[in-house]
Symmetry: C3
Subunit: 305 residues, 3 copies
């Protein structure tokens, strides 16, 4: 049976640890200035990147992971595809699959699309969820965990604060699931209007609506990106107000000693002030490098069987 990466929910603790370990060797190569060693692991394999939502950085990260493993990599611009000619999503996907696609990397604005594809494609077509709606973004959670592990040694009992727009964030959701599985102590801080509806108790995390002393105790803080268009929806009063209440400002970080993560792209002077983004504790570029390594590890794992 072939494997998929639909979400963190489907992964066991052992599988997560296995994936994180596999990524370490790749990370060493990414950190070196030598040529990347040739790999033939995915030779003769085709990976298709289907981004229904634009994302230059994540798509490039996947493309590089694929090419560096020797795969044939194709990226289809799904905004200008046959979908705009009235074809259904499933028809489009089955057409692409018929060209012998061994793995599909899918990003879509609707939650559940990767699982929907799983039901309609042959099992020999592996599926990677590259972010679906407000549901999951498993490679982001894995790269965050890899970054945290490098800095903290272990996640067991470590205090991790996630701050910002939790409600609409697939990054938050995948991170809560993964951090819980690895035994971290997760708190979330979010405006009421940007908090999960169902209560985050399901994820076993604490929810607060104001920043108290959490940052001073935290081992790491993950600041989420604010979609500035939510302002127009009156979900928060404004960017200045958001920064004052939830931004990582110098005052707020003065007594903190936590590592700072952000999935990017950063709105400077909103989620992170320059002092936070550029501080010695900021690991935002480290996360990006870990991202390529994690995606290589995931591909290796999917093609192992």
């Amino acid at each position: 049976m072939t494997r998929d990466l639909l979400g963190i929910r489907q992964l066991s603790v052992d599988q997560i640890i296995d994936l994180l370990k596999r990524s370490d060797g790749y990370f060493q190569h990414l950190n070196s200035t030598d040529p990347f060693p040739e790999s033939t692991l995915l030779k003769g394999r085709t990976v298709a990147n289907l981004f229904f939502e634009n994302s230059t950085r994540t798509r490039t990260s996947f493309e590089l992971a694929e090419k560096r493993l020797g795969a044939t990599s194709v990226s289809l611009s799904m905004q200008t595809s046959s979908l705009s000619k009235g074809e259904s999503l499933i028809d489009t996907i089955k057409v692409i699959d018929a060209m012998k696609i061994d793995c599909m990397v899918v990003r879509h604005s609707s939650s559940g699309v990767p699982a929907l594809l799983r039901r309609h494609l042959p099992e020999t077509t592996r599926i990677i969820n590259a972010g679906d709606g407000a549901h999951e973004h498993p490679t982001q959670a894995l790269l965050d965990a890899a970054t945290l592990l490098e800095k903290l040694g272990s996640l067991k009992g470590k205090k991790i604060v996630i701050i910002g727009d939790i409600k609409h964030s697939r990054v938050a959701r995948s991170n809560m699931l993964l951090l819980n599985k690895l035994g971290a102590n997760v708190s979330i801080i979010a405006p009421i209007t940007l908090s999960p509806n169902s209560g985050a108790e399901v994820f076993g995390v604490n929810v607060r609506h104001e920043i108290g002393n959490e940052l001073n105790d935290a081992d790491a803080v993950i600041a989420l990106r604010i979609q500035t268009e939510r302002q127009a929806q009156s979900l928060f009063p404004g960017l200045t107000d958001f920064r004052e209440r939830y931004g990582l400002t110098p005052t707020r970080m003065a007594k903190a000693n936590s590592f700072i993560l952000h999935p990017g792209p950063v709105n400077r002077s909103v989620e992170l002030d320059d002092e936070a983004a550029d501080s010695e504790k900021s690991v935002i570029y480290r996360q990006v490098k870990r991202g390529v390594a994690i995606r290589m590890a995931v591909l290796e794992w999917l093609f192992e069987n």
Copy 2:
């Protein structure tokens, strides 16, 4: 002398049979779940895909064919190219050619563009017509023939019905030429406003404007895509009306036992009802897979000399 694929019209029966045979080996590999075997046939060769009309699926099919044969494949976005800066088509093409392009795959909304390029480029630059205006789409006809041959064994005397917008369809034109050459018995069914002006007698086919018993006798039916924008041009009254008169509805297919082909993307509930598109006789995904194999065969053939 190097070869080109400008249209079905220029191919002899022997050449068509040769191309169909060459594609079979590639099709076996495409049907397998093993890694695609490495090929160095086009090593050191550059193939440029110049799509002046958007087509994610056809362009991807060519790209995969090229890469799987070891070519350097580049796809130029011709909508945002120098053409928009006022440069002439011939100048643009000669500039691209000067970068040492061994083969150009060209799609254009104007009939005759591939033949025009042939007159302006050195003969060592092979040209593949990937669809020009309402003229020809030779690789589509070849992939349709390969699909039909697999299902029907031979085309000699087989009854093939082509239904829909014949007038604007390069797919219909190339198919009529090819099916005639291989001895099939071709009928076309189209609204008067979507029938060829000059009479299809030139192609040696029967033309009808209403569906009678043809479907019940047919070995295969090729339903063509309706360009929904033709509605606004009053070429047909509406999609519902089109479906009622020309769509492959369950009632209409009840007594039929023919294979169902469609070049895609399908307008479901217009040309094909779900019962037709998803029936056991539907070979629409088979066509797509055959398409990659045919394009590999064409490239192999072009680079043989």
Copy 3:
């Protein structure tokens, strides 16, 4: 220490001659109809093409140079990138760099962006300026020089006329610098409104505003592209007027025996009449072929250390 190609200004005469020589072998391969010989020079290296301004032809030229040297080549569509989500240029570039990019090819509408990146990226990330604002376009100047050398043998004392919109032209600027370094005798002819503000004396060239006898004596003339939108800015009265005063018309070229260069895309009947563009002395497609060879030479040189 690794190298960069930020501009012609930073190159010594010896370095320019070295680059021109290196490109000759590649040019021979580009001129042949044989498969391009395999190169592993950039195996395991990743080159990212970051075009903040659209340019299908220059981007394709770089992509082909990279792929033919065995590099992993990625082209990021910077118009739809995270920049549009409010991220700063430097943040975007550092994120891309973190994916282990060994070389960045950058085109930007603002002068100085490649130098800005140089200050923010690790020195192991080589930078190639593919055109920045009205500043420099060094690979264009190198390919022009390679073309001229092939035709003229040497540039020493050769009379080269550059004609057109000098003021806004990075091509003119890089060419003036390079031609001077190689000892050519450069004149520029431009409308007053399209002449360099600071006087071209800094470049050691003569400036005239009307065409006199220069063309009759010139060994080569480089006609620059007119940005037709400058018309709306009233920088010149109109295209017809421009052609009459500065275009290479048959009358004007009647007594001339100079080679004709143009960086493309050509506005026919503005900068060049058909008689000039298609004459035996026109080397505009030669320039394009030289361009791929020069870019291969530059990459070879950047990765030598």
